[in-house]
């Protein structure tokens, strides 16, 4: 009954998306005051509500493990811990697509309810575009991936959840990324709306910016969490593999980062109009290309849990319509958009343009590396592109970008002289050279990590320079946001460079009672013991580890065997100190009763994810600053309007 209710709500939501699209499109002809224009906003609101009802219905059938629903039977299990039962609702293709459209519909409802700043014509076009995009996803769900399909007769027991996915981090990972993707879809709709009415104004940028910020914050969190998940769950000790799926999440982030900066230029200076529109389209297309690459299974990946060529065809079809359509519109319309304001090379805009170019170049490199195997496969040649390509090639563009990041925020808008910030530039240059020399002399490390460390040091200090001479409490939150996000980049860069330069690894075969060392750690294997969990059994290697003179700590990395479905995973164990992590994995048993142990000491590796957290925090601060500012401005405007009305009434 609940499942049918969910399905009915989903069909109705699709119908309303259609209505929203048609009403918005017709309103472009009849004008924003016509009767038809009154329909779009309410349909968006009701559509959002219905999608939410549908998603809650899905959560319900998963929470009670209703095994007469095919999706539940295929992905859940009555013995699974409750939290994973619920998160199982989106740990599969159908459920995650439903989550996606729900968040998208709710965002549509939100803009329909509160957004009054744009010209109503642009708003109608935006809602039409939003309805159009949503409609495609509803069609996808209803026609090829119905999450509420019944199973007749009901299954006696579920088939479980992929044990690799049975993890709290992963319960949160896909929704986080989807929130990011959806934010980009809203930005996309705004871009298309503005392209249709040719009204690319600073107001448009101010309306779009919070959505880009939301998307960017969630994408940042998603990537950070995903990287940490791969780090401790896969048990390979690495934190980034340039896997197609990781790239699929990185590419929208790169595009969103570029968009975030260009939308700021548009909002403050009314420049980069066409470029911002273009990035709005590209950012969303990257999230769809990513989804396509992951779901279609045309690339080999460790994340191949949701592969289905038929669905791939459907996504490609949607991709062709939306992105193809938007780019066609762009090609036809962009030249008719009035040129924005001009600016000098030595200006904040100039620095932001360089940043945009570098980000776009890295995006192109990652995209090319990800698609290259696809391209060669069309000629029957299969290849795998790995770190030997991605690391150095993306560094070529990342390094000038870090330099610009240090200097750019110090420049003034429109026109500036290098001489004005001469002292700061000299300081930054001196820091960089001192860092390179000192680290290069003290430690024998490879060139890229050396550059990384020196830039991390420089950027870490330079990121706070924009605050000099300001009263810190009066500094706008958005500025604080920028400072903290840039500092986060420096922190993450430090973590990455340090991990790659100073990690030490130890492979040992130990008998119970024997010990070994890795870096400053002494590790003793106490015993290997069987353990049992709710749906797995495991061998746990109890180890006593001690950092130099500190008190010993006991850890127990495991090799787990799940039984539904039957699968083996390694559960690595981490000991976190302020200056790094010890990473321990229990391997197989050797013939002579010894156990394979893998140990890593990774100095400052945690800074990678602290940095990611800081970057997201910067985004959140900036978002709060912008939204609060908007609300204040709106209130002031209303008060001014009221006074004027009063004055007119008196007159």
């Amino acid at each position: 009954m609940i499942a049918e209710l969910g399905l009915a709500a989903l069909w109705l939501a699709a119908a309303l998306a259609f209505l929203q699209m048609v009403a918005g499109a017709l309103a472009l002809r009849t004008g924003p005051d016509g009767e038809i224009a009154q329909i779009s906003r309410p349909s968006a609101v009701v559509q959002g509500t219905l999608a939410l009802v549908s998603f809650l219905a899905l959560l319900y059938v998963f929470a009670v493990t209703d095994l007469s629903v095919e999706l539940v039977a295929a992905n859940s299990h009555s013995m699974k811990p409750w939290i994973y039962k619920v998160s199982g609702a989106w740990g599969n293709h159908e459920g995650s697509m439903l989550l996606w459209v729900t968040v998208m519909a709710l965002s549509g409802a939100l803009i329909a309810l509160v957004e009054k700043r744009l010209p109503e014509r642009t708003m109608q076009a935006t809602l039409a575009a939003q309805g159009f995009v949503a409609l495609g996803f509803y069609a996808f769900l209803l026609l090829s991936s119905n999450p509420f399909a019944r199973l007749e007769p009901a299954a006696a027991e579920g088939l479980g959840l992929n044990p690799l996915l049975q993890d709290i981090g992963l319960a949160l990972h896909p929704p986080t990324l989807y929130l990011g993707y959806v934010g980009l879809s809203v930005a996309f709709s705004f871009a298309v709306g503005a392209l249709i009415t040719r009204e690319v104004t600073p107001d448009f940028a101010r309306v779009m910016r919070p959505w880009v910020l939301v998307a960017w914050v969630f994408l940042t969190l998603g990537i950070t969490a995903g990287s940490y998940w791969a780090y401790y769950e896969l048990g390979w000790g690495g934190w980034w593999f340039w896997d197609p799926v990781e790239n699929a999440s990185l590419m929208p982030w790169l595009a969103a980062t570029a968009l975030l900066h260009s939308v700021s230029v548009l909002a403050s200076r009314d420049a980069l109009r066409v470029w911002t529109i273009m990035l709005g389209v590209v950012a969303f297309s990257m999230s769809m290309v990513g989804t396509f690459l992951v779901r279609s299974g045309i690339l080999t990946s460790v994340h191949a849990f949701a592969v289905d060529p038929e669905r791939g065809t459907f996504i490609l079809f949607l991709l062709a319509i939306y992105i193809g359509g938007a780019l066609l519109l762009f090609a036809l319309r962009a030249s008719t958009i009035a040129e924005g304001k001009r600016f000098a090379v030595a200006s904040r805009e100039g620095a932001l343009v360089v940043n945009n170019v570098m980000l776009s170049a890295i995006l192109a490199i990652v995209l090319l590396g990800t698609l290259y195997p696809l391209l060669t496969e069309a000629f029957d040649v299969r290849v795998s592109v790995g770190p030997p390509y991605f690391n150095p090639v993306s560094a070529i563009f990342a390094i000038p970008m870090f330099a610009i990041m240090a200097v750019g925020p110090l420049l003034r808008w429109r026109r500036d002289r290098w001489g004005r910030i001469g002292k700061e530039v000299v300081l930054i240059g001196a820091l960089l050279i001192a860092g390179l020399t000192a680290i290069g002399l003290l430690a024998d490390i490879a060139f890229l990590p050396l550059l990384g460390l020196a830039f991390a040091l420089t950027l870490g200090i330079a990121s706070f320079l924009p605050l000099r001479g300001r009263r810190l409490l009066k500094t706008p939150l958005a500025t604080w946001g920028m400072v903290i996000a840039h500092f986060g980049i420096a922190v993450a860069l430090f973590g990455m460079a340090s991990e790659s330069a100073f990690s030490t690894e130890r492979l040992a075969a130990l008998q119970a009672g024997q010990d070994t060392t890795v870096g400053p750690w002494r590790v003793r294997l106490a015993a290997v013991e069987p353990q049992a969990g709710p749906n797995w059994t495991a061998l746990a290697g109890r180890m006593v580890v001690r950092y130099e003179g500190d008190a010993p700590v006991e850890i127990a990395p495991m090799a787990r065997s799940f039984w539904a479905p039957a699968q083996q995973t390694t559960e690595s164990e981490l000991v976190t100190r302020w200056n790094g992590q010890l990473y321990a994995v229990l391997g197989g048993e050797a013939q002579d009763g010894r156990w394979q142990i893998r140990l890593w000491w990774k100095p400052f590796v945690t800074f990678i994810w602290y940095g990611g957290g800081l970057i997201a925090l910067g985004g959140v601060l900036s978002l709060i600053g912008r939204v609060v500012g908007d609300i204040k401005r709106r209130r002031v405007r209303r008060r001014v309007d009221e006074r004027r009305e009063d004055a007119e009434a008196f007159a």
Binding site: D243, V274, V282, I298, P309, L328, F330, A378, R598
Partner: protein
């Protein structure tokens, strides 16, 4: 009309074409290579694992057919094919590995994690052998007969259905 504005859609159309084409293609691993039927070019590679013999083209001309596996520890499909290589080894195949642009510690870690089906592994740090035998990617698996002649090339990861195919090719090469 600004012609530069058509760049994005042109690039996108290219992407669509490639994506649509690869979706429409059944995954077909049957590939003919120009190097099939040719003798292995001369090479000498240092061993990737300390204390093991080096890998030279002369090793292959001793009358015993072998599999030559091009792989790397940084390559994800190589992880996917590890169980199949182990299966091949269990069924009597002699597998020589060539690690492409790799580091000894990474190789050791990979072998520790995913098993070592190789009788010997050479380090090809500049893709010298890889290019010499006409392999354009990682992973690839070649069948070399007892005279050191390449008789079969498998491109991409070895999947379960490929195991009997490779064993048959080895048999044909004189095992």
């Amino acid at each position: 009309m600004n012609w530069r504005l058509w760049f994005p859609i042109a690039a996108f159309t290219g992407f669509l074409a490639v994506a649509a084409y690869s979706l429409s293609q059944p995954k077909d691993d049957f590939v003919r290579s120009a190097m099939i039927g040719e003798k292995l070019p001369y090479f000498e590679l240092p061993s990737a694992v300390e204390g093991r013999p080096s890998v030279t083209s002369a090793n292959f001309a001793d009358g015993r057919p072998r599999l030559l596996n091009i792989w790397a520890s940084w390559c994800l499909p190589c992880i996917a094919e590890a169980p199949q290589l182990a299966e091949l080894e269990r069924r009597g195949a002699d597998i020589v590995g060539i690690a492409i642009r790799d580091k000894p510690e990474d190789i050791a870690a990979f072998l520790d994690e995913h098993g070592n089906p190789y009788s010997s592994i050479g380090r090809d740090d500049v893709s010298e052998v890889q290019l010499g035998i006409g392999s354009s990617g990682v992973p690839e698996t070649f069948v070399i007969d007892g005279d050191g002649v390449i008789t079969y090339q498998h491109i991409g990861d070895v999947r379960a259905p490929d195991v009997p195919v490779l064993l048959e090719e080895l048999r044909k090469a004189g095992a």
